[in-house]
């Protein structure tokens, strides 16, 4: 059994009365390329935002490399509004109940549930930057590069989180060695994504496909274990998409990364994914290998729609 990198348990994200992600369970193992697909508005990006810490889930738990990074249960206003499942599972009360269970049946039952919930008291990451530091980097659906910065600086800034020098030594240039190492690393990344020639141009002056590549390079600069790509091929022509498919495969084999991606280009998804999760209306409707997904009736229905009286 390969090493578990990401595990999402019973994650529910509810905004007001709208359940955007409904009891999502998924896991990703080391070295895999896993895709998350689904029709527009299915909650894919919301799931990404929950995993990367942009939103705290209304309920559920996210585990990264064996450690719980986020855990929440419906509290405050959400307690009344909550429409999802397992509202009690992550509360302290549940644990007490589980520990006090007396009958053998109940004990077995709760123990099983407790194991799946895997209580840990340590919750590591309150904000996205901590999660990134732990080794999870992402790109955005609508490109979010730093607009006034050059290509080179965009990647260099992403190296900031791995700094060891303090404010004082950075200001008075006592960290030359680290700075030089960072710059060398940026050059290497530019080489990998093929943007060395454009390194002094403004990030926004690049063509669309290259901006996407730059965003991936920027994410790679944070030295992640898991790379999350939010629609990396959006707006690309078939040629660029092919290049990207090859590129993603290459970063996995060369850098030993695990990749989790959201995508609408089915060619790309079927080509490179080891496994696929399918979301619809916030809930998971299917998971499996590309071949399984292609023949799954529920997935086909979700994408094509079902005739009312069929």
């Amino acid at each position: 059994m390969s090493e578990n990198v990401l595990r999402v348990e019973n994650a529910t994200m509810q905004f007001g009365g709208v359940v955007a992600v409904d009891n999502l369970n998924l896991e990703i193992n080391k070295g895999e390329i896993v895709s998350l697909i689904g029709p527009n508005g299915a909650g894919k990006t919301t799931a990404f935002n929950v995993i990367t810490g942009v939103y705290a889930p209304s309920n559920g738990r996210v585990e990264f490399c064996g450690e719980t990074i986020v855990r929440n249960h419906p509290q405050g206003k959400m307690k009344k509004l909550y429409k999802g499942q397992n509202p009690e599972m992550y509360t302290a009360a549940f644990r007490v109940q589980a520990e006090n269970a007396e009958t053998k049946d109940a004990l077995e039952e709760t123990e099983k549930e407790r194991d799946s919930a895997a209580f840990t008291d340590k919750v590591l990451a309150p904000t996205p930057d901590v999660i990134t530091k732990l080794g999870m980097a992402r790109t955005f659906q609508n490109i979010r590069l730093w607009k006034s910065q050059t290509v080179f600086d965009n990647i260099l800034i992403a190296k900031h989180l791995r700094r060891t020098s303090g404010l004082f030594s950075a200001t008075f240039r006592l960290n030359r060695r680290e700075e030089a190492a960072q710059r060398a690393d940026v050059e290497r990344l530019l080489e990998i994504v093929g943007l060395s020639e454009a390194k002094d141009e403004l990030a926004t002056s690049l063509p669309y496909g290259k901006q996407r590549r730059l965003e991936i390079a920027r994410a790679l600069a944070t030295e992640p274990k898991l790379l999350l790509l939010d629609e990396p091929a959006a707006g690309m022509n078939p040629q660029e998409t092919n290049d990207l498919t090859e590129f993603i495969g290459r970063i996995r084999s060369d850098l030993g990364l695990t990749v989790f991606l959201i995508e609408h280009h089915m060619d790309l998804v079927m080509d490179i994914s080891d496994r696929i999760y399918v979301l619809d209306f916030g809930g998971l409707i299917a998971k499996g290998t590309p071949a399984e997904i292609q023949n799954n009736q529920r997935v086909i229905d979700a994408y094509l729609g079902v005739a009312e009286d069929a």
């Binding site: 904000t127 980097a137 979010r144 730093w146 910065q149 600086d153 800034i157 404010l167 200001t171």
Partner: protein, 451 residues
């Protein structure tokens, strides 16, 4: 290769800095130098530092704060309280029994070590002034930095007003002298090298060093993180930059330098009174930052000298009621005024022509499109010219509008025009040393195009 280049640049920068200091020192000591020029240079150097500190926050980190005057006040008072000479404390704090600290840092060091001790004392007090401002920034930063844009501006503005009120509080009188003046402390005039006066050199030196540190900071890995936060907060956080920590850092550093510049301002004025540090002062600094270009250090510095030069010297006449001596003077005035108006109109029309815009665009069908803004501008110019002619004919000699306060009106109009038409300011977000680079790369691109 890169390193060599860096060394060369550093040398050039050092030479320029020394040259400027020598030049300023010469102005200090040569006869017949107008004292107004020296005043402008001193105050300009100090305002350059405040503007740069505000730019660090507003221009480089994207936090719109209006608390600068408050932090300057903290710095100014810290410095003044620490350096009022012991024998003068009785007269300065005359309204408060046992007022004053009973010691003066600069005095004790100055007495034991002469000019060097004085310099050391001033440096220590300046740093303390900065630290006090920085400490308060840390304190109010805890709640306030969670706010976004305009709310942050309002909160910091409120903080500045509160500080001003607290400093004037009677119970603090033995330290702050209440709402009365603090004076008699070490100022720039106390510095000399042998018989050479260093009155203008010192503010240049202090302010220049501080600005240099800010430039170093901005080009360091932390400065780059600040710029990332300014450009896109969400992306910055997703790339592992701790927003709260870096915003607080920027806020504290900015306030630290604002505190130092407040202390420098106290040294320049030779007296401090809380009343002076009103929101109007923050407004002046904001004006400098906007004119210089938000996100440009050199822009802030240039604009600061321009602004101080105009407000202290060049545009003083706007605040004085003026009556012309005779008809000849009136004609002279009218001609200059008319030429100015004509020049502005010509400039406007030329820039319109360059952009290929027309006053009235005739459409093939329907109504012709009219540029009402330009038409309005022309109308105003025409009215001004008509008034000019009428003024020459009429028997009046007194110039209209000129009276106390009109200068600020002119400044406000200038900032409105800037914001409407020249949002970039003098420098945009470029630095002086970027200008050559830009041209070169543009040329290189053109060259590639030709091939």
């Amino acid at each position: 290769m890169i390193k060599k280049n860096d060394h060369k640049k550093a040398w050039i920068a050092l030479m320029i800095a020394v040259a400027v200091l020598v030049l300023v020192g010469a102005l200090d000591n040569l006869p017949h130098v107008p004292s107004m020029l020296l005043t402008v240079l001193q105050k300009g150097a100090i305002y350059a530092l405040v503007a740069v500190s505000m730019n660090l926050l507003n221009g480089f980190t994207g936090l719109f704060s209006l608390g600068q005057a408050g932090f300057m006040l903290l710095g100014a008072y810290t410095y003044a309280v620490l350096t009022v000479p012991v024998e003068r404390q009785a007269s300065v704090y005359q309204r408060y029994e046992e007022g004053g600290l009973g010691f003066s840092v600069t005095q004790s060091l100055g007495n034991s070590m002469g000019q060097f001790g004085l310099l050391l004392g001033v440096v220590i007090c300046l740093i303390l002034a900065g630290c006090v401002a920085g400490f308060f920034a840390w304190l109010i930063g805890l709640p306030v930095l969670k706010l976004k844009s305009d709310y942050l501006a309002i909160a910091t503005l409120g903080f500045a007003e509160i500080i001003r009120a607290v400093v004037q509080y009677e119970k603090l009188g033995p330290v702050t002298n209440g709402s009365n003046l603090l004076y008699g402390f070490t100022g720039f005039t106390d510095f000399h090298l042998g018989s050479l006066k260093l009155t203008t050199v010192m503010p240049f030196l202090f302010s220049g060093l501080c600005i240099f540190v800010v430039v170093l900071l901005i080009n360091s890995t932390y400065g780059r993180a600040f710029k990332a936060i300014r450009d896109d907060e969400v992306a910055a956080e997703a790339m592992g930059i701790n927003l709260a920590k870096h915003k607080r850092m920027s806020f504290i550093i900015s306030s630290f330098f604002a505190g130092i510049s407040g202390a420098l301002l106290a040294m320049f004025q030779a007296s401090v009174q809380a009343v002076a540090f009103k929101a109007a002062m923050t407004y002046e600094i904001l004006l400098i930052v906007v004119i210089g270009g938000i996100g440009s250090i050199t822009g802030s510095a240039i604009a600061s000298f321009l602004f101080v030069g105009c407000s202290e010297w060049g545009l003083r006449f706007l605040d004085n009621e003026t009556t012309l001596k005779n008809f000849d003077a009136k004609v002279k005035f009218a001609v200059i005024f008319g030429v100015l108006i004509a020049a502005v109109v010509a400039f406007g029309l030329l820039s319109m022509k360059r952009k290929g815009e027309k006053l009235i665009t005739r459409a093939a069908q329907g109504r012709p499109a009219v540029r009402w803004g330009a038409v309005l501008g022309l109308a105003v110019a025409a009215i001004a010219l008509l008034w000019d002619v009428w003024f020459v004919i009429s028997p009046r000699l007194k110039l209209p509008l000129l009276r106390s306060g009109f200068r600020m009106v002119v400044f406000s109009v200038v900032i409105m025009i800037m914001v409407l038409f020249f949002r970039e300011g003098i420098m945009g977000d470029k630095e002086l040393w970027d200008l050559g680079k830009k041209k070169r790369s543009a040329k290189a691109k053109a060259g590639v195009g030709n091939e």
